[in-house]
Symmetry: C2
Subunit: 362 residues, 2 copies
């Protein structure tokens, strides 16, 4: 491994490939289209690992991200974010280059989208199946009818089907609840499909969230899945029961810059601008910003029992640690931290170092 002198995001490529293959294989055997969300890694280099496995269609969460991946040859992209009407000319440019899908949940803006586009784009009606962030309520057939009425006459917007993100799986209390949300989502989306398939025989339903895609073994009855976080997983997924600690493919390697045996604390160079401030809570109510692992030449250990990242300021992180770790560690050592939310940590770090020493900077 090349030497680490400041916070560095380690990537276990082998585990990452296992994570990708895990969901890809389930999608294949379920005959469900796999359109992974690339917002988690946001890396053309990591994207190529998917491509080599035969993945050619992807999901992104912004027009900027679509442009980035388009510049690396991706030709089938869904922007799974409510269409931003201020970026319609950029969307139109992209639609000239590739098969682009956008999503919307309001009939009020369809005409302005239609007017601004010079090229056809695929259009998903976003459905709210219970997450309540965006989307038309699944029962609101009146609004869906208004949209479809417009889409049936549109020259630019090609209706593709119904899309949802069941993000309420992230606040579920158990695996059973996640599976119940999944079943409920599939039922509601198929209800809509049944309602409209006669008029739109090609319509598909697209769902996607890592918790349910990780727990469900068979995606039958779903045309497309779009999970993202599963590529790396993180402590949030672990706390939901949707991945094991071994499946977490990222660890932030941080230099030790201070040790306080009096407070049972280790101070690391690694703070909110590296991890983000996403947190979980211990049963006792204290915040946890990460679990601590030992980093060796080509791997990292299981988390050190009783050690956790307890506090973050801009560049400082404070680890609470058991005496044994405090006695073993010295200033200038490197400790690894399993992040709470890999998407936000990867966004801040911008690059990766694989355990084989590959430096990934795009």
């Amino acid at each position: 491994m090349i030497s680490i002198d400041k916070p560095t995001l380690l990537l276990n490529k082998e585990q990452c490939m296992n994570n990708i293959n895990g969901i890809l294989e389930k999608a294949k055997s379920s005959n469900t289209h796999f359109r992974p969300h690339f917002k988690t890694h946001n890396s053309a280099y990591v994207g190529n690992w998917f491509r080599r496995l035969g993945v050619h269609s992807i999901t992104v969460s912004s027009v900027s991200m679509a442009r980035y991946f388009a510049s690396f040859g991706w030709r089938d992209i869904t922007i799974a974010f409510p269409v931003n009407v201020l970026e319609l000319s950029l969307i139109s440019e992209l639609a000239n280059e590739l098969a682009l899908n956008i999503q919307g949940d309001s009939s009020s803006i369809l005409q302005s989208i239609e007017t601004a586009l010079l090229y056809p784009v695929g259009f998903y009606i976003e459905i709210d199946t219970g997450h309540h962030r965006s989307g038309i309520a699944w029962k609101d057939l009146d609004e869906i009818d208004r949209m479809l009425d417009f889409l049936s006459r549109s020259n630019r917007l090609k209706f593709k089907g119904f899309l949802t993100h069941s993000g309420h799986t992230y606040t579920a209390d158990s695996k059973e609840e996640i599976l119940d949300i999944y079943k409920d989502t599939v039922q509601k989306m198929n209800y809509l499909k049944d309602q409209y398939k006669e008029a739109w025989p090609e319509l598909t339903i697209s769902i996607g969230d890592t918790p349910s895609c990780s727990l469900v073994e068979d995606f039958s009855g779903v045309d497309e899945v779009r999970p993202g976080n599963f590529v790396f997983y993180d402590l949030m997924q672990y706390s939901l029961g949707t991945c094991s600690l071994e499946q977490i493919a990222l660890a932030l390697a941080c230099p030790v810059v201070g040790i306080s045996p009096q407070r049972n604390e280790i101070l690391i160079y690694g703070g909110a601008i590296h991890f983000s401030k996403e947190l979980l809570y211990k049963n006792s109510g204290e915040p946890i910003y990460g679990y601590i692992v030992r980093v060796s030449d080509k791997e990292w250990s299981m988390p050190v029992e009783g050690a956790y990242l307890a506090s973050l300021s801009q560049e400082h992180g404070i680890i609470r640690a058991p005496k044994e770790l405090i006695e073993e560690i010295k200033i200038g050592d490197i400790l690894g931290v399993l992040p709470v939310h890999s998407c936000l940590t990867a966004n801040l770090m911008k690059g990766y170092l694989t355990l084989d020493g590959e430096v990934i900077s795009y």
Copy 2:
């Protein structure tokens, strides 16, 4: 103003200059050296605004940041972060170019620092006056003596004095408590100065945190102050009572992408990768990620009463808003958000757009 089509960090330069001048003038009239912390704006362009006011010495929080500002001509820099022994060769290179100060709180690493440095650097002993993040406990004269014993014989490490960050002002419950912490800090630091000034007549004491530097009118008795956040302020400072809403010089302009009158919510393009997930709590216990302002040609309004940023995912933000705002707003409008923690928001956004239309990208 140039047109905004995605999340854009607006900077009120006039207010920013007022904020800078406010503390600069107090430092001047107190005969206290002003060494502003540049981690908040982290911008060479904004740094030049300080330079034009006669500021020539700065504080940074990492070796990387020191290198960045060195490349823009800054020649007097204190890295106010426990020295990272893994970056000593970079520190040594910098010390060859400019007047560099570092800080440390452990006698155990002084020899390895001394050995690695080819050029002299200023050295501050970091003191813990109550924040308990790093630093030698102010009463621990034994460890201070061990450090000074080494420093008195060192060829590379030039002892400058005692430095502290009283970050516990951030958890104070009132302005009075912040002022009490300030007084206590000054007392403890002067106690140390008195202890050692005979042996080290040049030694200085350096303190720095925005809450106390904002409230205190006279810095007499302190040789140097190093506040950072005051350049922009934010809702955290406002909630501490250390700035007014008018003094907040940053607002993140975000496109409206959805409106839900049923839920009294406005969905914006602007999420955790733009704001960070720093939060405050309402009295009722609900999280607040920002206050909402209306953005017009060359200004933004006072916060809209009853409206706040209530939830963030990676690129989505959900605003809870009163009916009047919901009825006024349409998809494609721009709303501004006063951030909770300007340092983290600025770090994520990387650039600014001033209200006069200056695009600041470095």
